[in-house]
Amino acid sequence: MADFTFPLPDVGEGLTEAEIVSWHVKPGDPIAVNQVVCEIETAKSLVELPSPFSGVVKELLVAEGDTVQVGSPIISVTGEGADEPAAPDTGVTEAVSDTTASVSSEGDSGKVANLVGYGAGDDHATSRRRRYARATPAETPATVPSAPVSAPVAQAMPIIAKPPIRKLAKDLGVDLASVLPTGVAGEILREDVVRQAEQATVFKNIETPAWPENREDRIPVKGVRKAIANAMVKSMFSAPHVSVFVDVDATRTMDFVKRLKASPDFAGIKVSPLLVMVKAMIWAVQRNPTVNSTWTDEEILVHHYVNLGVAAATPRGLIVPNVKEAHTLSLRELAMALEKLTVTARDGKTTPEEMSGGTITITNLGSFGVDTGTPILNPGEVTIVALGTIKPKPWIVEGEVRSRMVTTVAASFDHRVVDGDVASRFVADVASVMEEPALLLD
């Protein structure tokens, strides 16, 4: 024995309510399936409603003369359980808009199905939590929320940029609002975005200070500054420096870096052309081992391991911490090591141990917007490589002038150890990887 309720059905394809005109039964009456329980009046006609249940009338839930919404229970019957109906998902009685899911017949005990065509009257639509829903959705939205809308920013001037340029800016992490447009119609061009991307952050926020009032500032030579000075002098005036330069089309490196950035393996890890150049240097060292040496007057110590130094700007000056055993690291490990090194240096926490034992160094002039330079060797080493800006320049590709991402690979060598041919081969090797990173698969 169970209690069943009969909700008011939509008897006329889209009706929303009906008036109970007269009850034909009362509580306590025995009732059979299809026996008329009441007469209702709809917008279209007078209709008799037959009972879906057999049993005994328990309660008349609405009174004669009442107007009832479709779906509201009108009568309850204590049933003999003969014809237990399978009720579909009650979701169907609600949103008309919510029609795509298949409605399964879950038993909802006591309820008779309300069905197809129903829901014309229900005004509050419900919505399920969508995958792309914003972080702060409304709890019970009055209407189904529309697709996420980006808040319109009131700006003095609208940003004019074509979709491919917007994507480029997004990929390079450039805020279009900060880009100076040079297009004829005031639109931001590709080169504008690239230029913005390559500028060092360090320049963006520096304001030019006023001339100081005193004639001179006296800075004591001590600490890091003294160490740098000593190192430079020692290096410069003991090792005969030779610098070698080559321009290379680094477009494929830029593409490779873009792909790495998008790869899930490198998610959250800083990836830049410097990473590729460091890997290139290690590969080039393998092919030209003597560039990875130390001069000791009696001997040239050729190291068969690479502790790769990276010149890092810190608040107190230039230091060169190195990544130990860099030749054993995977690309990913290398990227993580470089990032750690940079962050530690910036925080001023680099240890002396981290700064000693380097075998070869790279310095990044490009982050300052500088094309190339003649770097000074780190004492104890015979090679230092400089990475400059990578920017679009005209280049000949298959006989035609095209815009490519070009950079100058520079390196200074100790000519006591490294002759011109070795120097050139080494630099050419580094440059060839910048041109074709796939060579690293060798």
Partner: protein, 324 residues
Amino acid sequence: MRELPLAKAINESLRAAMLADSSVMLMGEDIAQLGGVFRVTEGLQEQFGPSRVVDTPLAEAGIVGTAIGLAMRGYRPVCEIQFDGFVYPAFDQIVTQLAKLTSRHEGTQAFPVVIRIPYGGHIGAIEHHQESPEAYFAHTAGLRVISPATPHDAYWMIQDAIASSDPVIFLEPKSRYWHKGQVDVEVPGLAMNQAEVARVGRDVTLIGHGAAVAMMQQAADIAEGEGISIEVINLRSLSPLDMDTVMESVRKTTRAVVVQESPGNASLGSEVAATLAEQAFYVMQAPVLRVSGFNAPFPPAGLESIYLPDTDRILDAVDRSMAY
């Protein structure tokens, strides 16, 4: 290789299809002894007899409705609607019945009915004889809509349509009926649902079907002389659209212009434009432009050359696209 006008290519192809499969039959007004008002079915009743090439009473709903019954019986009827503007009495049988019967039968019965419709302008005809109704049919799920641009297209696509198990609306560009072209009767063309790169170019992609393809080629010739390299896409299939071919082109050129005789409002070109806007958003240097008939009833023939897209209107759109 044969050189054939488009109408004859269809004629020969129908002949080949009817020889290959005895369930293929033709029905329409004036298609038997007269051979069709455009002579597309010339000689076919002589060859195949009056129960395979059937003159029908003058009743388009009747033509399509009885074709449905014949398809249920196991025939492959190829209906001819005499002119584009006369398809509308059959519209209910096409969209309410033919398009939905496969679905209604839940896959237990196929409805391989082909409806050939000469369409389009440029022939100086009177009212109702120069319409482009493709949007109504492309909009209706359950129909395939295709349109040949060349005799080679026509020869193979009508056979593909007949071989298809689905209802096919076959829109024949009547202004091209007597233009000749090379037809390779041995080697088929592209598949029925594929678009064709009719001309390779670099700067702008022109997209269209049927009679518009020749017009786009002419515009491309002129543009070449002006230093603009245009790629021409012959859609061939209007529903489904071969967006792969279109996208490959637009990724290369980054600019697209759709050309169509039909009025632009809620047209097939609108669908191409919207789909490109969605799929090629980051690629496009300019919005998709549409060169269409004006949103007014097709005018008296004296005005049709102004109403319909011509090379100037196409090149004007190309210029505007390039200027973005």
